[in-house]
Symmetry: C2
Subunit: 336 residues, 2 copies
DNA sequence: CTGTTAGCGCGTTCAA
DNA sequence: TTGAACGCGCTAACAG
């Protein structure tokens, strides 16, 4: 850490610390000449005000926290990218916290953050989160909070998400249009609203086309081995599906693995569509049809909204609840 | 931010602030009874000491910075994962900064970090970094610094990397063993030591087997379109390669795209191996043989070394320069 | 074992 | 236009 501070800078210049402080912050009550002199020396010595002193004095950290389930997932890393871009432009710093989908960890993290370390929090909740008390407490404390992607419906906080119900509907419909008669849903177990929204989209579509769903909804978990067993059972059952709608990328991958093992041909025997932000799905065998979420934009928007709240600007209604459209990238896995 | 502080807590308990502070930090000079009483109330009120005041007083932020070229890359997100795990266990916070491979941004970030905001920095340098002055300055300032993956050889700072030369040698040799006679190298342009180490491994292997390299070394850049043109030219040239060694994942992907477009068959006409930490390369058409770096371990080790330096523990020689082995995952892209 | 005092470095009074 | 004094909240040195 640089041992140079305001006081030393002031001594060098034969000025008081307060004058130097004001000059550096561009105060209008300092003569241009002094400002120039101060800034020149500060630049020369590479002076940077001590952020802790500054934060303490101003009750403002210039830092935000991003709380994520995981980072080894293209969706979340794209979000981080968007967040970091906006933050860097605003001169903000970004703390990253990973919950690894563990409720206890999420609680701990939010607890620790309720002390002025950050000016605001962005969170995508873990899929094992069963209570919202920890989130309510943050909210009650007045610390700006924004949800993205995995939102908690019942908490009145700005949220940035995608049109999951609609996208799932269209994705399922896409399979119908491609001739599927029995479409299965692979989803992650848990209470996430995002899961139920995607399920609803799937159910709505099947209802519209009068198609069956019995025995076609499979709840998966975090363990690949277990998931592959479940999918194997589904495909080897008495009445197997001819189409699969995977609510998350991971499950499409498990499906590909199972199909390869069982010798099930995609798309002739089974068509697959999945939510995924992985661009290399284009190189899969066969290329995977995906529903792509605008992750980078979600990160940017969530950060932008958070900064607006931090700066106490009033949000327009669209910013309290912004919904970005996903889009389908059609590839061979749902081809003729 | 919680409006409750040490002083208020002390008043409630009829104790002095310093006693409360000591009690909360488990000082041995406080009676067990007082400790219990203090901790109970602190817990009840959800008291968290103000981190800025604490950091200011102790000249210690309990925060580290990770500076990365990008996060939308499995290697770096796995590293982040490792770092975050270690940091969370140590009670440290992690700031993330992305350079997007821009030298100017890297300089700015390091400049801003030289003021006590963090207790240490981990960095993987950008591929456009042409000077080391900004890194030397950090190092001279005494702020703990650790390089990972993309290291700067000439700066005497602990580093965590992989056996790139050796891995590239083995990767190239793998192509030779699979029958390739003309092996091309696709690498990223720039001054990164990691690039030259991988190139050296390639060259050593070809030398060992007395194979030609003329016209087979292609320097690529960040633009996919340009890279595909370069690769197309290589494959359509008078004397095309029958094997490709891609120094980074991105270039293997560009190669797959070009091969698909040109109708070049992998592996019969062209075999490919690439550095990559993307597990879904197993689902590529054909599955891609990869050289996998232990990214998570690199992140953990780099963080662990950084914490050791921060705590002024002396490093054993192996920690000043730790080298992790990569391993080849053989798949169909280099198959018979 | 506990309290008093002082100061980390800054930004903001209030005074000149 | 500038300076002196104060306090943000915490912890460490120094009493007792």
């Amino acid at each position: 850490m640089s041992t140079i501070n305001l006081k030393r800078l002031a001594e060098e210049l034969n000025l008081s610390a307060s004058t130097v402080s004001r000059a550096l912050r561009g105060s209008h009550e300092i003569s241009q000449e002094t400002k120039d002199r101060v800034k020149a020396l500060a630049e020369k010595l590479g002076f940077q005000p001590n952020p802790h002193a500054s934060s303490l004095r101003q009750s403002k950290s210039n830092t935000i926290a991003v709380v994520l389930p995981e980072i080894e997932n293209n969706f979340f890393s794209q979000v981080m990218n968007g967040v970091e871009d906006v933050a860097q432009k605003k001169g903000y710093h970004v703390l990253i916290y990973l919950t690894h989908e563990a409720f206890a960890r999420e609680k701990d993290i939010l607890q620790v953050l309720r002390n002025g370390r950050v000016d605001g929090i962005m969170i995508s909740v873990s899929n094992t989160t069963t209570s919202e008390e920890h989130l309510q407490e943050v909210n009650r404390s007045g610390l700006p909070l924004v949800f993205f992607d995995r939102i908690v419906e019942s908490i009145d906080v700005p949220r940035v998400s995608t049109d999951d119900t609609d996208a799932a509907f269209k994705g399922t419909e896409h399979l119908v249009e491609k001739g599927c008669k029995r479409i299965a849903l692979l989803s992650m177990s848990g209470l996430l609203s995002i899961s139920s929204r995607r399920r609803n989209g799937y159910l709505n579509a099947l209802k519209k086309y009068g198609m069956e769903t019995d025995g076609l909804q499979v709840e998966c978990g975090t363990d690949d081995e277990t998931n592959r067993r479940l999918i194997t059972a589904l495909l080897q059952g008495p009445n197997p599906p001819d189409g699969i709608f995977a609510a998350v990328e991971k499950l499409a991958i498990n499906t590909y693995e199972v199909c390869r093992q069982l010798g099930v041909k995609i798309p002739s025997q089974l068509k697959i569509i999945s939510f995924s932000n992985l661009s290399v799905t284009a190189l899969f065998d066969p290329p995977l049809t995906t529903i792509v979420q605008p992750a980078y934009e979600i990160g940017k928007e969530a950060a932008a909204v958070l900064f607006k709240i931090i700066q106490k600007k009033t949000l327009v209604p669209g910013e309290k609840k912004s919904v970005f459209p996903s889009h389908i990238v059609e590839r061979a896995s749902t081809g003729g």
